[in-house]
Structure formats: C-alpha cells, structure tokens
C-alpha cells in the first residue's frame, strides 16, 4: 500500500454520480477470459482511470468503479456462462495481487460514500461466495503477488486460496497497524468464521503490517496452499481443472444480460427513473422517494424453455434487475433521501403465476434457479439499504408472492383497511416464494423473521391460498397499520412526514438492528458487527482526525492517538 503521497488531501470530494451498468467489452480494470470450464478473471487496475479525479489506482488498488466491474463479471458468469465451473481470480501485475481499497480514495471521500462503498464491496464478495455455494462456479484465488487488506479480503471470499511462495508474496491485513481502521470488507469475520483461523493467530496476523508468507500462511490456515513460484501457474491450472472435473454440467446455453432500458428525468426539485417494471420518483425537498414495481404484463413462461427464450426479458429477471439498479441509484446518487415509499401496481394473479412457474422450473433448470437466486440477492440488497422503507398497500397494488417480500422487508407497512364490498380493497397474498427460496441474510425467510415469536404461524400461512384484504392482513400480523378510507391519506402522510424528520443516523442504526432479528450468520456479522465497528472507527479522530492514522497515511508525520479506550 504505497500510492503517491502527494494526492492525499483533507478536502472531501463531492460524491460522483455513479452508474452501475457495464459490460466486459468496456472493462477498464479486469480481463475476463475463458478456457473451457475455467474462466480467468485478471485484475489489472488502470492507474489513471479512477471513478472520480483526485487519486491514482496504484498497485492494483480498487475503488467503486473497479468493484462495479467485478460485480458485473460475477453476475454475467452466472447467467451468460453456465459452462464455466471454476473462476481463477488473479492479477495481471507483477508482484502484486491487489493492495485493497485505495487509501487516498477513502481519505478524500465523504463518510456516507465510504460507508456505501464498503457495503457495495461487501455485497459483491458475498455474491462471489454465493456463486461458489449455489451455482457451482468455484472461485479460486491465485495470489501471484502481495494480497494486502482488501486484496486478501477478496481472496477470502473465494473458495480456495493459492499463494505463490517466492519470498515476497504475502497475505496481510495492514489496516489496524498502518491505518488505524479494520479490514472491513468481511476480512476479520471470514478469517475466524469461514477459514476458522485460530483467534490468537488471527490477532497476530491482523496486527502485522507486513503480513505472512509462504509455509506459515498455509500452516496458519490463511491460505490453502503455498506453492513455489516455478510451479505456481501449473498448480493453479491443475487445481482449477480438478475442481471443474468434479463439478456437474449445466444443460443449455447461457442467457445474455443486455443493458437495462431506463429513462432518467429531472424536473424542478424532482428526479426519477423509469424502467420497464420499476419506476423511481425522488422529491428532493421532502427527501422522500417513491419506488413502484409493476406486475408482469403477460402470462408467465410456462416451461423452462419458454423462460429461457424470454431470457433477460422475463419479468422475474428484468423487474428485479431494474429494482437492483434503482436501489443502488437511491443509495449512491440520492444520499439525502431518508424514506422510500414502496408501491406496486398490476395484476396480483400474474405475480403469483410467475412465482409458481419459477419455483417449479427452478427445481430442474439452472437458468430458472439463477433467476430465483438473483431475486434473493436483490431483496437482500433492499434489506441492507439504509433508508426507511414504508410499504404502501393500496387498491390496485400487487403485493403478493415475491412482491409481498417488499412489504415484509419494509420497516412498516400501511394497508388500506377496507373489505372488498365495493371492489376498492387492497390485497396481499402468498406464493411458494414466500416460504423458503428468498431468505434474508440471517438465513430465515422474511415471514419467519416476522413471526419469530410464533414459528408455527408461518406453516399456517402457507396453507392460506386466498388473498387477504386490509383488516384480515392486519389480523394475521402481516401489515403494521390498516387505516380505513377516511383516515388513510392523513395517516400515511403524517407517518411519512414524521419519519422523515428523525435523525438519519439514529434511524439507520435503529432499522439495521430491528430488521435482522434471529440468528447470526457470517453475512449478518459482516454487515452488523464488522461494518458497524468500521463505520464507527471511520468517524473517530484516531483514524480520520487531523492527526489520525488514515489522514496521516503517506504523509511525512506520524499519527497521534487519543489513548482512551472506548
């Protein structure tokens, strides 16, 4: 970690507008190549192509732009390359695998951007991990040079780590000793939880700036194998081929992911984006956004083959890709928006039909399964979005099945409390997708998380085939409030206005604590424990104060600490 010191600066750069769509033909920092069942993902970061001006991406250090390409590659490999069974992640630069997140980028970013950046990179690494466990695409980190900080964290997300033993290639977590922060992209968690490195050795490792090399790295469990340089490349190939040989084939060709079609607009304090099945409307003055999802506008593909033919145009994939993009847009490009009203519109029967078909097809077809797994990831992204989420269940909405997950993900839900006498009621309802395939990061379904006190309720609800109107849904504990038509407007307006007036910090903390009840998993630990501590440390003078270690990094003076332990 030794980028040019001269680019360090106190001033925080304005957050850049970020777009998340890319394509291998436009990658600046990665090279994706294929050799049968083995793909090679080579990191070769373009020093002079940072996401925003102000820093250079030396030594294969990364910023959000680099990670967006990585996330794109991981996603495309799953959908477009079912023939790939092993992905070798390696570096195209001599002696360095990856130096982690660029320190000068971190130093010159706003706190909010930094937190969002870390969250996104954490999500990317979890997706990479999920590709191994769920999709039979095994990631092998081939560390052909130093992997420090986020570089080693990237390796930790892979299923296997091979380290070149050449006297200089090392794995290291220099964050604490050099920068007074944490390896916060899952590093500490994966060290002890995933790789099960003994905690005292992990302690030594995490305070040793220069890291650990060769045989010791293997003995401590930091890597799977340490391999002499002269045999390294061949060992990587052999290992990749062996893993591939042990992985079953997938039937059928890949499905291309074309660019999303979106019309973005801006008009007198309002801004928005209109996709095919998703639209977003932001009111900058009230800091409230509206996110609306539409039901399928045609019958669901009846067979796996039909789904394959529809490809990225299938509602279940397209709508959730659009939702994903919209969520990232809200996170990064609308930082002051504090509350999102979740809306839906369309034919509930079509949603349920699409869900049922998908659930059935996913049992035997890899593509249907990928579509479902993608849906799961996007809904997790929603859970992890640091904005208050209010679901508004109105007549004409279609919060059923997979879209009902939005209501369940919300911090609160408001549903019109009228019966169906006049044909003006709102409804919610279930599909098979509510009962297993779309768990949260705590490993439970949203329904199970909701009924933590009454686990039997979930099984009872699975029997419920009818749609429920407001009063019934309230009764069943499925929505928070169900005001009647007379109170509806005022209740909802007041709730939204009140919420939007509360401290954004306290709300983020409160919501993050309440959303993930129940058991801990590696994922929840990464987001709740590691990220929370990291975000706290990122605010502390010992890291970012005028004499803090992160501020002073690369500068000629030594940091100064406030020695009081908190």
């Amino acid at each position: 970690m030794e980028p040019s010191a001269s680019s360090a600066s106190h001033a925080k750069a304005p957050d850049p507008v970020v777009r998340f769509e890319t394509h291998p033909s436009r990658y600046k920092h990665w090279k994706l190549s294929f050799d049968g069942a083995v793909a090679r993902l080579e990191m070769n970061v373009d020093t002079d192509a940072p996401l925003r001006p102000g820093y250079e991406l030396k030594l294969n250090s990364y910023d959000l732009g680099v990670d967006i390409e990585l996330a794109d590659a991981v996603q495309r490999l799953r959908f477009e390359h079912p023939e790939v069974k092993v992905v070798v992640v390696t570096s195209g630069q001599p002696k360095i695998f990856c130096a982690g997140a660029n320190i000068y980028m971190l130093g010159s970013s706003t706190h909010g951007f930094k937190v969002n950046f870390c969250k996104y990179t954490n999500e990317t690494r979890l997706y990479l991990e999920a590709a191994c466990s769920e999709s039979g695409q095994h990631y092998v980190a081939a560390l052909n040079g130093v992997a420090s900080g986020g570089g080693y964290e990237l390796a930790l997300a892979c299923e296997e780590i091979l380290l070149c033993d050449d006297g200089s290639s090392a794995v290291s977590f220099p964050e604490t000793p050099l920068l007074a922060v944490l390896p916060g992209t899952g590093g500490l968690t994966r060290l002890v939880d995933k790789r099960k490195v003994r905690r005292d050795l992990a302690d030594v490792f995490s305070s040793l700036a220069e890291g650990v090399r060769g045989k010791r790295a293997q003995d401590w469990g930091l890597v799977d194998r340490s391999v002499p340089r002269s045999r390294f490349d061949q060992t990587v190939i052999d290992r990749a081929r062996a893993l591939a040989a042990a992985t079953p084939d997938k039937q059928g060709a890949g499905v291309a992911l074309p660019a999303l079609e979106v019309a973005r607009w801006e008009d007198a304090g309002k801004a928005g984006a209109d996709y095919r099945y998703v639209s977003v409307k932001v009111d900058k003055a009230t800091r409230v956004a509206e996110l609306r999802m539409l039901a399928p506008d045609a019958a669901a593909p009846a067979t796996a083959e039909a789904l394959r033919t529809a490809g990225a145009d299938a509602w279940a994939l397209r709508a959730f890709r659009e939702l994903d993009d919209a969520l990232l847009d809200l996170r990064f490009n609308h930082p002051t928006v504090g509350l999102v009203r979740l809306l839906s519109r369309g034919d509930a029967a079509r949603v349920i039909e699409a869900d049922r078909a998908l659930a059935a097809q996913a049992e035997s077809d890899w593509f249907a399964r990928e579509v479902l797994l993608h849906m799961k990831r996007v809904l997790k992204r929603l859970d992890l979005t640091a904005k208050s989420l209010f679901a508004i269940v109105e007549p004409g909405s279609c919060f059923v099945g997979s879209l009902f997950e939005l209501t369940l993900a919300a911090d609160r839900s408001y549903m019109l409390g009228e019966g169906d006498d006049e044909g003006t009621a709102a409804f919610v309802g279930f599909s098979p997708l509510n009962f297993g395939p779309l768990p949260m990061s705590n490993g439970l379904t949203r329904l199970a998380s909701r009924f933590l006190a009454k686990p039997d309720r979930v099984a009872e609800l699975a029997e419920q085939t009818e749609l429920l109107s407001g009063p019934d849904a309230l009764d069943a504990g499925l929505v928070t409030f169900a005001p009647d038509a007379i109170d509806w407007e005022d209740e909802v307006r007041l709730a939204v206005e009140e919420r939007a007036s509360l401290s954004p910090d306290a709300l983020t903390g409160m919501e993050a604590n309440l959303r993930f009840c129940g058991p801990e998993t590696t994922e929840t630990k990464i987001f709740a424990r590691l990220s929370a501590w990291q975000n706290w440390i990122f605010q502390r003078p010992n890291a970012v104060g005028e004499r803090g270690a992160l501020t002073m990094y690369g500068r000629p003076e030594r940091p100064e600490f406030d020695w009081r332990r908190t």
């Binding site: 030794e2 010191a5 000793p177 002269s230 500068r555 000629p556």
Partner: protein, 478 residues
C-alpha cells in the same frame, strides 16, 4: 563455550563470552552459515589458501590482520564501533532524545524489515559472484574477489547479530531466511531486484563493486544515523569494509579502461576488440546497466515507507549532520513526475513532494554525485591516453524498474520514448547477448599464475599490504 561459538573463532567486541542468548542463537546458526558458504560461496576455491584480511578487533591494529586462510575457516567476526557517550538521536520525531539501546516495541517490525532488507543483500552478492573465480584475470584480482566475498559474509554476520540479539524468535527465523533465499532463484529470490541479476563476468564484477556496493555505502550511511544505537554502531564499522569494495570496483574499471586505450593505440583503426580488449562502447553499456540497477535499490522516489523510517528516527540521511534541519517537516522536494502521455510517451508533471516522503531520492542525489567522481577519473585516463571518448552516467530515468519511472521508457539522456522506440534502440545502451558472449570469450581462460595478467586489463600499480603485484595471493590446491 562451544568449539565453534567462542571469541577465538568469532572475533568480536560484543562480549560474546558472557552472552548466553547470543551464543545459543549462533550455535544453531553458525553451522548453517558455513554450510551455506560451502554451497553458495566461491565455487572451486574452498580448499585454497587465500591471503585475506580479517578484522579481529575494532582498533587500528586489529581491523586489518593479513594472513593465508582457507575461506570456510575464515573468522567472521562481530564488530560495532565504540559507543559515542551520551549519543542523542539526530533526526526525525525523536530527535534530541537519548538513542535506544533496545528496540522500541512499536518500531520492531519496521526496524526488522530495514535490517533484513540490508542483510539480504550481503549473502546475495556472494551468490551472484560465486562463479567468477573460474574466469579471473589474475591472482591479485581473484584474491580481491574473495576478500569482498568474505566481507559480505561478515556483513551478513553483522545483521544477524542484530536479529539474534534484539528480535527474539522472529529474529532467529529471519536470520535463517537470510541463508535460505538464493539470488536469481524464482522460488526464493533475494529481496531486491539488482541482487538477482547474474554477475557473470569480471567487467560486471567491477561495475557491481563500483555501483552496487556504493548503494550499500549510502544505505549504511543512512542507517549509521539510526536512533537504534546497535544498528548505528554496526553499520559504521561495515562502512570501513565497504570502502575497500568500491576501491576494487573503481580501480578495476580504471585498469580496464587504461588497457583498452593502450590496445586502441596499438591498432590502426583504434579497434580495441581487434586487439583482444574491451571497447569503450561496451564499457559504457555495462555502466548503463549496473548504474541503473543500482539506482533502483534506493526505492521509490515518493515513498511513505521512507517517510516513516525518517519520522521514526530509524533511517536518516547520509551525514545527517551536514543538513541544516533534521526534522524535514514543512519542506518540499521538487520532482518531475512522469505520466504516460500521448502514444504511450511519458510527459512530466512538476510536483512538490513532502521532503520526508522524498528521502529515498535525497539519498539517491548523494549517490549520483558520488558515482560521478570515479567516472571522472576514468575519463581523465582516457583523455591522457589521447583517446576521444567520455564515459557518461545515464540519466536517472533510464532503465528503471522501481519508482515513478518504472514501466516507462527513456533514453540515456532522460528523453521520453515510446515502448516501440525503446525496443528498437535499447541495445545501443544496454549490454546485448553478443556483448556478453564477447566478454565470456575474452575471459574463458582464468589466469592462475602469480606473474601473469589477462590481456584485457592493466596490472595494478601496487600489490596488497606491501606485497608485490606478482605475489601468490591465492595458493591453489590441486
């Protein structure tokens, strides 16, 4: 005390006899060192008697004791210059405080890295030079080679002494690592690039001792300022030996240059190669190569490591006393930083680098100036011989593989080049395989007769320690 670890076998001024910890560490390490020496030291000369200088104490009498010795039995010693009473730290954030006699915990890793990096260069150079004896131009030169080799071995001992005495178990492991790495071995290379370059002929050897040992001199001068007193005292003593290595290089090149001029004058076309000598253009190419490799050893021009070494009062500047201010804060160092421009040709951007971050470059400045002195002497000899040619040090941008110029291309004047231009022209400036083959052919027959000298260099004006040049400095055993 044991038969190998005692003050008789290991001359020292560190009270080895009373130091149980050091004895224990050396008992494990010394046999492995000798094993390394036999395996990786000069090949084919381990049984010979070599007229070598051995340091047996730090005083004037003792530091240069001459006698015949078989190299594996050489008495590698441990010497520190005498302590300066009440020495205070002379630079960095701890300036003015008493020097440290033990390692401050928070500096342990940094300091260990400094010592290991320095220590690694010592055995590396022995390994690089291990085959040179088979092509030596005279017994005088052969002996000089071995003198340099055993002293590099002693420099290793000096660093190992620090590791053993001040760094506990880690230090012992690092000391073993110093014997495990091998110059040029892709699986366990030496730490710094230039120490993995093969040194395959005697012109390279002279260039190495002139240019690369001179890097050693400046690293040692900077470490001699260290707030960690044992390191400062150790490196001060090493400097006396380093001076001899550079002498071997400087006079070696001078003797080659003079001979080349003589041979040119004997030839109608002033063609030195036709007379079995080394032409000046070839000499220039070897200067370009070894000088640029040695510049790399100073590290990046803009370096946070250099800044923290200075801030922590661990590594100063050469002759820190001669600088007006020893904090080096709030001062900049103006640098021309290259950036890839149009068509891949570098352009420059002026940058004011905080002085502490530029400490590697400050040390390199001193080195560049010092390197010029010997070159001037070579040029003087060329001029006196009536030959019109000047050896020039290339620009410090030329052929660099670390720092801001790495990955970009410049000619010897420092003018930016595209990659294609570089590829097309690099053999004008760097030794080619043909050059290498020519030198190998010149040196294929070693000279082991006391009264002979290879054709491609002049005899030295004097022998060693009052002995004649023809003295049998190495007694070969059949």
């Amino acid at each position: 005390m044991s038969s190998v670890v005692n003050s008789d076998r290991i001359p020292n001024n560190v009270h080895l006899g009373d130091d149980k910890k050091l004895q224990r560490a050396l008992e494990a390490w010394q046999p492995r060192y000798v094993e390394w020496w036999k395996q990786m030291g000069p090949e084919g000369f381990q049984e010979d008697d070599v007229y070598l200088r051995t340091a047996i104490s730090v005083d004037h009498e003792g530091w240069a004791h001459f006698d015949y010795v078989k190299m594996p039995e050489y008495r590698w010693g441990i010497f520190l210059t005498d302590p300066v009473p009440d020495r205070k730290i002379g630079f960095g954030d701890f300036m003015g405080e008493p020097v440290w006699q033990t390692v401050p915990g928070e500096m342990r890793n940094m300091l260990r890295r400094l010592i290991v990096t320095q220590g690694d260069t010592e055995p590396a150079s022995v390994e690089q030079q291990r085959l040179l004896g088979k092509t030596c131009p005279s017994l005088y030169d052969l002996r000089n080679l071995f003198q340099v080799n055993v002293e590099e071995g002693r420099h290793l001992w000096a660093m190992v002494y620090l590791l053993h005495s001040y760094f506990g178990r880690d230090g012992r492991e690092e000391a073993e690592g110093l014997l495990e790495r091998r110059s040029g071995n892709p699986d366990k290379p030496r730490i710094l690039g230039a120490f993995n370059e093969p040194c395959t002929n005697w012109l390279s050897f002279f260039m190495f001792t002139y240019f690369t040992d001179r890097d050693g001199k400046y690293q040692l001068l900077a470490l001699a300022e260290s707030g960690f007193d044992p390191l400062a005292r150790t490196t001060r003593f090493m400097l006396t030996e380093e001076a001899h290595h550079m002498f071997v290089g400087e006079t070696g090149v001078l003797r080659v240059v003079k001979r080349t001029c003589e041979l040119m004058k004997q030839n109608k076309r002033e063609d030195a190669r036709a007379e079995g000598g080394i032409d000046l253009a070839t000499i220039q190419r070897y200067v370009n190569f070894w000088y640029s490799c040695s510049l790399d050893l100073f590290g990046g021009e803009i370096s946070s490591n250099a800044a923290s070494f200075f801030a922590n009062s661990l590594k100063g500047r050469a002759k820190e006393d001669s600088y007006p201010d020893h904090k080096a804060l709030d001062v900049g160092y103006a640098m021309q930083v290259p950036v890839i421009g149009e068509g891949g040709r570098p352009t420059f951007r002026g940058e004011e680098v905080p002085l502490r971050n530029a400490m590697n470059e400050v040390l390199r400045d001193e080195y560049v100036e010092d390197s010029q002195r010997g070159v001037d002497k070579w040029n003087k000899a060329i001029a006196e011989a009536g030959v019109s040619f000047q050896i020039k040090l290339p620009s410090r941008r030329f052929h660099r593989r670390t720092g801001i110029h790495a990955g970009m291309h410049f000619d010897v004047e420092g003018n930016p080049l595209t990659k294609d231009e570089w590829e097309a022209r690099k053999h004008q400036w760097l030794p080619s395989e043909a050059d290498e083959a020519y030198l190998q052919s010149l040196m294929s027959k070693p000279v082991y007769e006391a009264n002979q000298m290879a054709n491609w260099l002049q005899p030295p004006p004097h022998g060693i320690k009052g002995k004649p040049v023809e003295f049998e400095y190495v007694r070969r055993h059949p």
